[in-house]
Structures are given as structure tokens and as C-alpha cells.
Point group: C2
Chain length 458, copies 2
């Protein structure tokens, strides 16, 4: 019997997060006046302790004991060797994954939800607001807020709210409150509903509602939480890669290839950044973020200053972006349908330290089904995108006859997304590739930016 799983004890959990900002030079986020923003500018939206973390360039940050205690409900997560998947692919490659689907909400999102709830709690915040698309982030934040006894309000994009009723149920099981967005609870929501009562909603609208409700609470006890893109989110996720390193050490392995799906970038960054540190320090390792061809932020969009949301509430962030008004094709991988990409991931791509790849929807589901039928776990649609590229690398290893070591992050399970698998089996899913026309639509988004010139053309 070959060993499949490598565990760490709770005592072996990393005690610090790794901050990539210590090792790369970034362009600063800009305010509406085109000047770098100050911590105070963000104070109505986030608590100051998280803003400090967002701007810190210290390489290591201690993980608070209370955060470790909650993370230990499911962490350290298992490192799994996908033996049966390897056999089905008939590859000499060794394929390992960090199984982030074991968290209560079912994905890596809990890794940052827990510290975000904790820091807000410590800062005296009584209530968090957020938006959610596919529902993974809203679930994770509801779970985390429940652990620290603070309220959680989730604005869930109407179309997902209707398609995935179980996500709302999960949030409520943990004590969260979830409403369809646009809602009648905010001015933004009421305005949209007046204009188009039957709108399916969008992430842009939901973000605007969540921020409006957070900054509008006159008691000052409400803040907003974001599940990806920002530096502090990437920081919290590095526990994935830090654990993976310890686990690989235990079995005397080191990866040749790192793979993770990337929507806003946090799942990818979580596994990759500790290895990016190694690469910057001379290690020979290939690192691939994988995105859908329908929303090819890193592979086809320019590196520019753009807003994180369609309503332009956020500062201008230096990132690969398809434009803040971009509406991606309706692929069934909600977590990857985002117009931008975390600034740090964008910067690493621009510098050639990581090498972005894109895969199509049908290849993603095909790989996901193969994984389910071999390793048992049914992957989230987002994870399927990583898997499709794992399959490509495994085939390449076979052609080259090389025993490469591939490590990827299994971002979440697909148990609440089974309707998408039904569509796949029924032949109702399509491939989508961004058209050239769409590719150039973004340019109008950048026209009025205070610093419109592209940082680097894609």
C-alpha cells in the first residue's frame, strides 16, 4: 500500500505568515486624486490593524493564538499524493495536492476569513459586511464571524442566490445573514431595483451594497471584508504553502512545478508565495497560476491602474485587469469570474517570476471528473481549472519521460456546485474564449484614470 496522505500535527502548524511585499517592489494604490493613498483613507472600510497588515513590508507576521486555535479545527490540511489520478494519466510525474476542501465551508477562503474576523473583533467591530458570488467567501466569513461572536451580513449576487440555495442555508447554519443583491437594504440596491427590477445582480453591485452598509453605520462598529485581491488576504493564505513545505520535507520531496487556479489570486498565492520566495532566492521551480480562457486577466489583459469594483469605490490598484466594467462569460466557476487580479500576483507575472496559463471550461470539467473518479473528492469548478493544467503538465512529463514533482492547491470541493456537473454531463456547458473585440473593450475603462498609462503591456 502506497502512502497517500501526509499530515502535520497541530503543534507543527506554521506560527507566522509570509509577506511577499518584503521581497518584491510594488506600485502603490492610488486615490481619486492620483496620489498614493494613506492608511486613514481606508479607515471607514477596514479596521486599522488590518490596514497596517495591508501595508506592511515585514517578511513575517505572527499568527495570533486565537486564530491558530480556530484554524486548528481543520488545519494543518492534508498533503495528498494523487496516486490513482497519476495511474489514470499513466504519467511518471508525482502529483501532490494541498487539500483545502477540508475546511468547514469547503474551501481555502476560511484561511483568511478567520483572521479577518479576529482582527475586526479585536478592533471592537461588532458586524462585518461582504459580498459573495458563487458563495464560498460568504460561507467562510459567516463561519468565521460565528467563531468570534460578531454579526455577518452577506450580499449574494441574485443569480447565484437563486441557483444555489444551499449556500444561504450554510451561512444561516453558522448564524450569518444572507440576502440577494441587489437588495432593498441599501440606496445602491434600491436604485438598481427601481431601474431594473428583474436584474440578475453582479459582483460589482454586491460590493457596492456591502461597502455602503459598512461605511454608513454611524455607530462605527461595522466594517467591510474582502475575500481576495488584497495584500493581507494573500498573507493569510500563505499558511497553505508554508504547511506544504513542511509536509514535502517530511517525505524528502521538493516540487518542480507549482499550480493553482487564480480568480482574484488568493488561492494561488497561498500555495505559491512561499515557493516564490525560494525562486527569488535561486531555486529552479516553475510556478503557474491558471485562469479560464473566458476571463484571461493575466494572459490577455494589460497591467494597468484600475478599480477593484465596477462602482469605483475602491482605490486604483496596479493590476492586470480586463477593465472594471468587464462582464465575463457565464462559465460555471464563479470564483474565477473577476475582472482584475491581485496586485502582487500581477506584479510577479509582469516580472516573469510566475507564468500564467489559461484553460477552457470543458477541459476543466473533464479533468475534474477524472479526479473525482480516481481520488474520490468532487472538486469545485474553480479547482477543475488547476486540474486541467495539471493534466497538461503530467502529459508533458510522460512525453519527456521525466519524473517531475507537481504540487497544486485543491481550493475546494464541489458539493454545493453539483448542478454545474449535471450541465456538464448533459452536454450543456460550452467553451468560451475572449474575443479580440472584448479584449480591447477595457481600454475605455482606463481613459479617465489619473494615471492612465499602462504599467506594462500584456
Amino acid at each position: 500500500m502506497e502512502v497517500r496522505k501526509v499530515f502535520l500535527t497541530e503543534d507543527e502548524m506554521p506560527r507566522q505568515w509570509y509577506n511577499i511585499l518584503a521581497d518584491i517592489k510594488m506600485n502603490p494604490p492610488l486615490g481619486p486624486d492620483g496620489k498614493p493613498i494613506n492608511p486613514e483613507d481606508l479607515a471607514p472600510v477596514f479596521p486599522m490593524n488590518l490596514i497596517e497588515q495591508e501595508m506592511s513590508t515585514e517578511r513575517w507576521t505572527d499568527i495570533p493564538e486565537d486564530v491558530l486555535n480556530v484554524l486548528s479545527i481543520w488545519r494543518p490540511s492534508p498533503l495528498v499524493r494523487a496516486i490513482s489520478f497519476e495511474k489514470a494519466l499513466d504519467t511518471p510525474a508525482k502529483i501532490y495536492f494541498k487539500n483545502e476542501s477540508v475546511s468547514p465551508p469547503g474551501s481555502h477562503k476560511a484561511n483568511t476569513a478567520v483572521p479577518q474576523a479576529y482582527y475586526n473583533k479585536v478592533f471592537g467591530i461588532k458586524r462585518l459586511t461582504t459580498e459573495t458570488g458563487a458563495g464560498q467567501w460568504g460561507s467562510a466569513l459567516s463561519f468565521a464571524c460565528g467563531q468570534f461572536g460578531i454579526e455577518c451580513k452577506v450580499f449574494m449576487v441574485r443569480v447565484s442566490f437563486d441557483q444555489k440555495p444551499y449556500r444561504k442555508s450554510m451561512m444561516e447554519a453558522w448564524g450569518g445573514n444572507c440576502v440577494a443583491s441587489p437588495s432593498t437594504e441599501t440606496q445602491t440596491g434600491r436604485d438598481v431595483l427601481k431601474e431594473s427590477p428583474d436584474t440578475p445582480g453582479s459582483l460589482g453591485i454586491a460590493i457596492s451594497e456591502a461597502i455602503e452598509q459598512a461605511v454608513g453605520d454611524e455607530s462605527g462598529q461595522t466594517r467591510y471584508a474582502l475575500g481576495s485581491v488584497l495584500n493581507h488576504v494573500m498573507l493569510h493564505q500563505t499558511i497553505i504553502g508554508l504547511e506544504a513545505k513542511k509536509q514535502m520535507d517530511k517525505i524528502g520531496e521538493y516540487p518542480d512545478i507549482i499550480i493553482g487556479c487564480a480568480g482574484g489570486g488568493s488561492n494561488f498565492a497561498g500555495l505559491a508565495y512561499p515557493y516564490v520566495y525560494d525562486k527569488i532566492n535561486g531555486k529552479d521551480i516553475a510556478i503557474y497560476p491558471v485562469e479560464p480562457t473566458a476571463c484571461p486577466t493575466l494572459t490577455r489583459a494589460p497591467f494597468a491602474y484600475d478599480h477593484g469594483d465596477s462602482a469605483k469605490y475602491t482605490p486604483l490598484l496596479p493590476m492586470h485587469s480586463l477593465g472594471h466594467t468587464f462582464v465575463p462569460a457565464p462559465i460555471h466557476a464563479g470564483g474565477l469570474r473577476y475582472h482584475g487580479m491581485a496586485p502582487t500576483v500581477s506584479q510577479l507575472a509582469a516580472e516573469g517570476i510566475i507564468e500564467p496559463k489559461s484553460v477552457n471550461q470543458l477541459a476543466a470539467y473533464e479533468a475534474g471528473v477524472l479526479l473525482a473518479r480516481t481520488e474520490g473528492i468532487i472538486p469545485a469548478p474553480e479547482t477543475n481549472h488547476a486540474l486541467a493544467y495539471v493534466v497538461e503538465e503530467a502529459r508533458k512529463a510522460k512525453e519527456e519521460g521525466k519524473e517531475k514533482v507537481i504540487l497544486f492547491t485543491f481550493s475546494g470541493h464541489g458539493l454545493i456546485d453539483l448542478a454545474a456537473y449535471d450541465k456538464y454531463f448533459a452536454g450543456k456547458l460550452n467553451d468560451y474564449v475572449l474575443s479580440e473585440e472584448e479584449e480591447h473593450k477595457f481600454e475605455t475603462c482606463f481613459e479617465n484614470n489619473p494615471k492612465p498609462e499602462l504599467l506594462k503591456s500584456c
Copy 2:
């Protein structure tokens, strides 16, 4: 930080199952003629290697290497100390659970699905049929058949099929085929549909369809599989308790109290039987199977000879039974809505070695929500019943001021059952208690039995 989880390595997995039949004396199953059945009588339904296991009285059975290899996808399962749940209950009791929700199909059912698929495969069987109510068993068997490359056909009770579409999707993701029962694929199904086209179906009908299709395959390459009740199913599940013992040993603990929910009995037996062995050999330990007040097989029904299915296809089994025509109230815990109870569990209850308890539906969901909000995992409705009794024992420990060690089995997660939680939160779930009238209905079931006298009145 207190340690929450105790893991075993794959090398530490038990290599043998424990057979309770070595340590208790049982009444034999009877055929239609009132005489004990022979192995050959079961040969059209099950493969001979499993029939031998069903009738074996050897204390230990080796677990085949190929079975261990598949079990190692998720086993050994974690032993978890429910620290946050304890704190919420303010109890001096230490509460541990075996987390069986970590299997790919999400419950303990996979522990027997895998060996059943394996033994059928070894015997040359190409296709398995089965029924499923809530869907846990059908999912588990689909997963297991996929691992050994045999076909799986699941007849799912129509009402559950319509209420829980994700269960069908799961089965299909693993390559299984699931149809609503009654179906047009069997004579039984066609007859029922002719009579009542709008029937919601029943487990009785679904079993009949599955057996009909298995024995009706003239190639002899199809057999039927059952997910509970039978001796070989209990045998396979003992891996739960055998692992738990090793894990408790590692932290120097031994339980005072064992708790498991019991529908057909396999989840309970899996944890309990290795401890029953200790109890028979002098250990002071309390062992409680927990059932719903709506279907109180062990706590209110007689111990008698009865059929396992409503169509009387099965032999007469010596068991606690509400009568094979009993239709339990529509509680949201499908896995506990069974008229009978495993003969071995029934025998142990009759001998007073285990002490059955019953709990009501609302107390079960209340306990489940508390567990979800403290420990994170959302439990299956069946697991909630065990939890309700854990809460009772934890309160008792508090009243008595005793640091008791409670160990229960967390049979599965509730991610596919979230609609039931919605009903609970909306105040749409009710308590059900069996009426005295219902309690005596069963007697008519036994009238025409070849050996109708009760083995022991309840």
C-alpha cells in the same frame, strides 16, 4: 492551544475487522419454511464470498490489501476533541468524536461500500444494484464501484430523488446510474406505477426493484448490495471503533460512554462493537444507540422474527421491528427511518449490553446547530440524533460534577441536507412520537410468520 485532532498514519490503520458473532449467540435467519437458511439460499442475491462473511463466527477477518488501498483515500479518519462544543455546554465532560464525514461520499457508508464492491469484483460480478433513501448509501456504493470498475445501479426513492437532486449528481460524477423508484425498469416498478402513477415511492419498493434486477440478470453477473442491517456490513464498519481505540490510546484516554445514532445499526455498531468486546470482557462502559422517537425500533418495538423489506423478499431476521409494513413519520433523517434494526444490535439490546435511547427531532436539530456553530462541521440529520443524546450526557456530567469521557460517531456531514436545516430555522419541523395505536400495528405483520412468537417483548 489545546489539541483538537488525533490522527493515525496509514500504516497504523487496522489490518483486520472485528466480528461480534464470535462473542454473542444469535438466533439464525429463517427461510419461508421456517427453517434456518443455507448459504445457497442467498446465492442469487449476494456473491458467495460475502455470504461466507455474513455467516462467519471467526473473531477477526483480514482486510484485503486492495480494500485498504481505497479506504486510505480518507482513512484513518480523525478523532476529534469537540473543545468548543464542550465549552458551549459548560460541561466537565470530555467529548470526542470519530469524524466519518471526511469520506468522499460524506458518511461512514463508504466503509462497507468499498469492501462490498471489492468482494463482488473478486467474485466476477460486473454490476451491483441497490436502493437508497436519503442518498448516502447510493452515493457511497457509486463511489466504491467506480474504484473497482464495476457498474452501479441505484433505485432512489422518488420523493428523495426529487428533493435532493445533488445526490443523483454525486452518483453520476462517480459513474453510477441513479433512477427514481418506482421506475419503469422492473416489473415491481411498472406494477406500482400502473396502480399509482404519482406515488412518492418507498424504501420497500426500491429494495424490491433492486433485488428484482439483480436476480433477474440471466448472465449471473449482477448482484445486490445492502448498506446496513446485515452482519457483514457491521463487520466492515468496525474499522471505526478499532481506529478510535488506537487514537484514544495515543492520548491516554478510554471512554466512559459510547454514543451513535442507529437506523439500520451500522454506524452505531461500527464504533461500538470493539467496545462491546471490552464490555463483555469486564470493562465498565455505557453504550448507547440513539434512535428517533418517530421510529423507535429498539426502545418500543418487540424483538421478533420479521422481514427486512416490505415486499418480504428477505429471510426472516431476528430483530427489533416495528413491522415490515410500518411507515415512519416524515422526519428529516432518512437514514433513521427503518422499521427494523440489525439483528446483532437487537441481540445486544435484548441482553442489556447496550442501552437504547430515543430523541426527538427538534432536540436533534438544536444540538446539530450548536455543533455547527462551535466545531464548524454541519452534521447530517442522522448525526444530530446522536448529538442530542451527547448533550444530555454532557449535562448529566455537569450536574454530577464528573469529568466523563464521551465518544460518539459523527456519521456524516449535512451539506446535501441543508434544505432540512432551512425548514428547522423556518420553524417548519415538528416533533413526532409514536402513538400507542401505531406501536401495536406491527402485530399484524407477525401473524403469518412461520415462527410468530416474540423472542423477547420490548
